[in-house]
Symmetry: C2
Subunit: 501 residues, 2 copies
């Protein structure tokens, strides 16, 4: 007769296996699956996910959970077991609160929504997408009501991606951010933009891939427990701490695309590879939140990968890899080129400075939608207004404006802010790390990345989902979420790049 928490863990393990199997099938779908298999694969994935859900929301799991909670209350559990029970209780209550007909309606609306969105974007026809988005917003409101919330509907939605963080914290942080970032972006826009012509040219994909893989191996990414493949949209997925896979895409004509995507995904991958092995086959064996996850990818992509010390170390090797393009380009010119900042229309192509404004705009609009303060039909105009206010530019079309992102088309409302939260947190984490590693820049310039990874493993990675993101951030950095660290980092960095700033 296993102890109560062990009994719960044993019952959850096969459910985790089902989720891992679904993740393998999804990975295969995006990398190697032949086109003709799409329909069969959708069916297989639906079966695996439905089975995982059905096995989880049973009364049997509820009874095991009750007993495990009693054991925790009576001090008969380790700290890790107590964390497991707490997180599973939250997941379980959340899963049980959603009526299965609502889950099914959302899933079907999402499927139709994605199809309609693809057509709408291709034809620059927002009206074609609008009724689908209306339905999705309506169902999302029903979802928020079913889940319940303390202050506003958006709390219930954000909680899915960023557990423990109230909407009010995002609102306050973004207010600080907006106040200082809009003028900074304006000021940068007035400066002469660095020449980045050398980043466009002939960059053979196999060489890009080999260079990127050498760098992330130096970072500590373990190819014996992972691999990198090509997909249309880069992502990282974990089937176990011993099997964490990256995907990326390369542009044979533009170097930064594949290079920084590889470093970005490696940040996600290093996080998943660093989860403590004793959390295997439990719901704790993944990242704490999307925001924390993004903090790790942005850390490796931007804090390290777009830093001058990093290129002090790697630029000679990059020149050797692409001699025709870079032989006659000085390190400083290359460094300025990869950090060129200017207002642009498309979020996924935005630079480090302007990116957060794209995210803020989406957060404000989607929050207004679920609060019923904004109607779907008024969304394109609201989008264009805000683009002008924040970035000083206006989309030439809805396809390059309100229709550019996939997220809303499958009902992912509450997801967008995590992109910016991760970026802000990456700077807070970097500041905390620098206190413990005063020689950080010199170490990076020497290609020594073990101290960085050790620090992240100790303060972030190993916990998995044991701590909620706000607690993890507080413990790692001594601070709650704030915009100042990142704004300070941007001012310092761009002050050096643009002497006139």
């Amino acid at each position: 007769m296993p102890a109560p928490v062990d009994a719960l863990r044993d019952a959850l393990a096969p459910i985790e296996d089902l989720k891992s199997a679904a993740a393998v099938l999804s990975w295969d779908q995006e990398t190697f699956m032949p086109d003709g298999a799409a329909e069969a694969r959708a069916q297989q994935l639906s079966t695996l996910k439905t089975m995982a859900h059905e096995r989880f929301v049973t009364d049997e799991i509820g009874a095991l959970l009750d007993k495990a909670e009693t054991a925790v209350e009576q001090g008969e559990a380790t700290d890790m077991q107590a964390d497991l029970v707490r997180v599973v209780r939250r997941d379980y209550d959340r899963a049980r609160k959603l009526p299965s007909d609502l889950v099914s309606a959302l899933s079907q609306a999402a499927s139709r929504g994605q199809t309609a969105w693809k057509q709408a974007r291709a034809n620059d026809d927002f009206d074609h997408f609008a009724p689908h988005l209306e339905e999705l917003v309506d169902l999302t409101i029903q979802k928020a009501e079913a889940l319940g919330y303390e202050n506003e509907r958006y709390d219930a939605l954000l909680d899915e991606y960023e557990p423990g963080l109230p909407t009010s914290a995002v609102v306050d942080t973004f207010a600080d951010l907006r106040e200082q970032l809009v003028p900074l972006v304006d000021a940068i826009a007035e400066q002469p933009a660095p020449d980045d012509a050398m980043l466009h040219g002939a960059f053979p994909v196999d060489k890009q891939k080999a260079f990127g893989e050498a760098v992330i191996t130096d970072f500590g990414y373990d190819f014996d427990c992972g691999r990198q493949d090509i997909s249309a949209h880069p992502f990282t997925t974990s089937f176990d701490v011993t099997d964490v896979r990256l995907t990326t895409r390369f542009d044979a004509q533009f170097l930064p695309s594949g290079l920084f995507s590889t470093l970005h995904e490696a940040g996600h991958g290093l996080y998943e590879q660093g989860v403590a092995p004793d959390l295997a086959r439990t719901p704790l064996a993944e990242g704490a939140s999307l925001g924390i996850h993004e903090s790790q990818s942005r850390f490796y992509e931007n804090v390290i990968g777009r830093s001058r010390p990093f290129w002090q170390h790697y630029y000679p090797a990059l020149q050797d890899t692409f001699p025709d393009a870079l032989r006659n380009v000085a390190l400083d010119d290359f460094y300025r080129a990869i950090n060129r900042s200017e207002p642009s229309l498309i979020r996924v192509e935005a630079d480090e400075v302007t990116y957060n404004l794209h995210v803020m705009l989406r957060f404000e609009l989607e929050r207004a939608l679920v609060q019923e303060d904004l109607a779907v039909q008024d969304l394109p105009a609201a989008w264009n207004d805000r683009m002008d206010t924040y970035l000083g530019i206006t989309p030439d079309s809805d396809a390059n404006g309100v229709l550019q992102d996939v997220h809303w088309s499958f009902g992912a409302i509450g997801y967008f802010p995590t992109y910016a939260l991760g970026t802000l947190m990456s700077a807070q984490i970097a500041n905390a790390m620098r206190k413990d590693l005063p020689d950080l820049d010199a170490q990076i310039a020497a290609g020594e990345f073990a101290p960085v990874l050790d620090w992240l493993r100790t303060h972030i990675h190993r916990y998995g989902r044991r701590l909620d993101a706000p607690d993890l951030l507080e413990q790692a950095t001594g601070q709650s979420l704030q915009a100042d660290a990142w704004l300070g980092a941007m001012r310092t960095k761009y002050g050096a790049i643009y002497p006139g700033l």
Copy 2:
């Protein structure tokens, strides 16, 4: 309320999805999975297979099956539905007959057996493997007794791989085969062997792969519903009729290895791609038996791929692909080289003529083991005796003798004969096809393979498991299993290659 057979089919579909998911995970394990993930993957596969089994052997499926059988009896089902119910009844009864502790004991003994076998083969130490094989034979006997049989234990085991074929049919067919094949092999061994030096050399793998894929595309293998990858041991796997994948291995120094492996696996793949789409997500959506499956692979590998008309068409392209090796080699010399036959120790490297003797030997020995007519300790001596009798050679070690194959180490007893049955059936099928396609050789020599595939689709592929192998063979060829067709084909072919024969 769905009709009874539809209700059964609906209940089986998610089980098929679980099996397909397991097949994806197995494929990934053999192709792309990082080494570090082995343990987690074993766990995930075990969960998927256990769930599929548990969902199948429920009383609920039994009740649905009873109702479906009543519907069939009352004429309320299509022919396809009647076939489905018949096959599912057999699978269900078989699965329910096996006590779960026996299944578990076999699974664990197989896992230990494979580990021990690997060590034993590496160290040429049969005694290390013997106790494991004894346990596996003992458990296999228990399995046969639990399943029940008409005449002998081996019937119950063969039935897993070749449903509907009694052991006595194999015994009789192999007796005919032995009587005529042993003298043929002896006679060939007395002839001067063709020179095959041109097959050894430098054959870049990417060129081998491209050549093979062009050929199997000509055969009709659909890369929009399939792909080919590299694995240590070639295999074909199907996740759906729209997703049938081949794997192969290439030897950069020896051309035939990868080339004929690709054609062989394409035969399996064409079969799976040709199953009627209306059998999707049912237990009928796979090959009728291992023997029929092997008949398709041997057909494309040997009947077509090692024929003179085939190389009349492809040899110029092969010469263009590997000019250094083949520029100065005449078609006839190449053709004789790829058909060189001589007694050898290793089954998987054996040529078309001698191969069946390797299989016969294994069948006779494993049948004697489960009949308790042969003790495991006497197996190496029995192996070596029979090698001498059938092939006139004696293994230099147990590693190159009784320890060479993996099958027994995981309890696969009853599997070996299907290799030879497939070869024999491929010749019977070729003869039947030639009656309908009198210009077959000319079509092959012109690179026209559509008539071949159409014939196989019509007479074999589309049925999936709807017909048992003996019925399918009888319907397609007008004959039951026999050795004469293949022996006749070998005599004709080798009579032309060895004029002195």
